[in-house]
Symmetry: C2
Subunit: 399 residues, 2 copies
Amino acid sequence: MSDLPPLPAGFRTAGLHCGIKDDPQKLDLALFVSDEPCTAVGVFTQNRVCGAPVKVSRERVPAAAARGVVINSGNANACTGQRGIDDAKWMTALVADRIGCDAENVLVCSTGVIGRFLPREKLEAGIPRGIEQLAGTQEAFHNAARGMMTTDTFAKQSLREVAIGGKTVRVSGAAKGAAMIAPNMATMLAVVMTDATLDPIAAKRILRHAVNDSFNCISVEGHTSTSDTVILLASGASGVVPSSQQELLAIETAIDDVCEDLAKQIIRDAEGAGHFITIDVRGLREPDEARKIAKAIAEGPLVKTAIAGADPNWGRIVSAAGYCGVDLREEDMSLSLNGVPIYAAGTPTDFDAAALSQRLRTEKDVHIDLSLTLGDAACRFWTCDLTAEYVRLNSEFTT
Amino acid sequence: MSDLPPLPAGFRTAGLHCGIKDDPQKLDLALFVSDEPCTAVGVFTQNRVCGAPVKVSRERVPAAAARGVVINSGNANACTGQRGIDDAKWMTALVADRIGCDAENVLVCSTGVIGRFLPREKLEAGIPRGIEQLAGTQEAFHNAARGMMTTDTFAKQSLREVAIGGKTVRVSGAAKGAAMIAPNMATMLAVVMTDATLDPIAAKRILRHAVNDSFNCISVEGHTSTSDTVILLASGASGVVPSSQQELLAIETAIDDVCEDLAKQIIRDAEGAGHFITIDVRGLREPDEARKIAKAIAEGPLVKTAIAGADPNWGRIVSAAGYCGVDLREEDMSLSLNGVPIYAAGTPTDFDAAALSQRLRTEKDVHIDLSLTLGDAACRFWTCDLTAEYVRLNSEFTT
């Protein structure tokens, strides 16, 4: 277990099976607890239809004296009305009673099938067991990451360390993804912990910025889920209080990197994906324009099926840029695919399509690089291809 | 051939194989000609990257003295720079020379693979042959509809007749669709002809309105193509000049119906589709809100894969409504699928999911009916499901 990432100082976690999922090998409950009151901030789904845990947690951040997060997988708590709200609050109270704080100091997430009520009896037995198992070990952190998973095929964890004033600050994160991944938080959850001291206002700004360039720059199919949540907890247990802009920047960069790493792991593990696609869009007047173009390319089914088929189809890419509402002309655009220029200033180049297609069959990382000549703004975005396997996974239905 | 729709008075058409497509059984050239100068209006793709024929035709409408449209399939004329513009104008001149008018009186469309120059030598031989074959017969109209087809599996034609002042006004239309179908004109072309007299200003208003509720209410995958064009030609040859609002409304309704019929035929023939889906969204404050919700549902891959899998998945539908940017709450929404209420005022109903799924396996027409309580505005939208076959068709690549 030695290559698993460690937790930051001041945190203990647990992950276990409490019976929400049928398979006892699959964990369905995760706890992230700070030994002392800590700073907590969150970013939540922008879907108007949002889960009860989102409604409850959103009201509790930013917080200066939070104690942790309880997460169950296998059963979301969305479209469940007042009973859902009561269940979410009840989960936090169950944790709070046992770790010695108010329910308001605990945040909550649920992920899985929506429209079903949470199984209280399973959680009532599981949560106390989880609290007994809380530990600061690598294995405990890994189990917590596993406890969040739904159709993920691997647990997503990330670590960055920065040295500040002779001390080490750790940023450790765990996330789950898989499907319904789109900007503005899709069915994805992430908990990022640091042992630096961050006040709630700074933490909120840092998390918003980190999410904007990571979890909001990935898309599997453009469907924003109802339960997405990213939570940042800062314990201060490293003893590091950033005292200069440079020190704060170092911590901020570590948080950015952890978020980006987790976001990319979500795309690597996207349902049915055959290619991991990085999209760079440059040369726009405004960053929002670059993001809009990148998102249109990332979510264009014809772009995604072309990549699945190893088709260096410049037409589908530039026409996706053309329909997303940004004011541009075809002459403004040049495009390369895995380093090969395939479209320059409005017309296709004379490239070897068969050779490039052959490369796309073997190279599972694809780089779409679209350059415009309208300004200096850019956006980097990550997505995956659209395969028959994705359709199969998402059209399976058993009652 | 007697069940094929007839042309309106004053029009002759032709469709033939001129060699752009390899298979001699597949027609690749279509001509629609008015014997006398006629009114012509058009609606074109809103993609910023648009084909040369769109650029050329857009400048020539509205027109009071147009003579017709020349269309080739098998080779679009997009991303082809100045040479593409020259080729498009040259096509219209070739027609104009032989029917005796100015090139400016002829409109042009091209559809097929983009980024390739048109094969002038094939068109130079084919267009004069097409003009020799021009006829007012049902077969000639059917051939013209066939000449527009790309991956369509059937020719799309529609007819409506209205009696006005003892005379019959005909509205006859032909369209092609198949892929890259999205609102704002996707790779779809349509030519609608009527023998009523319509002035260009009235015709423009009528066509814009008809397109808005038909071709702009269909989506296969949300990819707006570069070459989409709908042209309305009014010859006046029926002798009917609408002289009251009622008479104009009768003609307008016939044009609306022909456009809706053609749009639905495009969805029926969408690549890889297994289900034809009608989406009704009601009870919004503004029609644009209803359209935005309908479009988000229609283009949501998770909705489309659910229908492909006969999954009565209310969660994917209401969450798509939730993420499209319209201000609403889950309590505002109720949903039925093929007449079965599955979600009411924010929570799922206690419906028999297995029975409904069984119905969705056999009923290939699906009706998604989403009612809100915020106002009286509504939108009807048509789409299809997302199948593994769609992915296969769109990821095939051969150089």
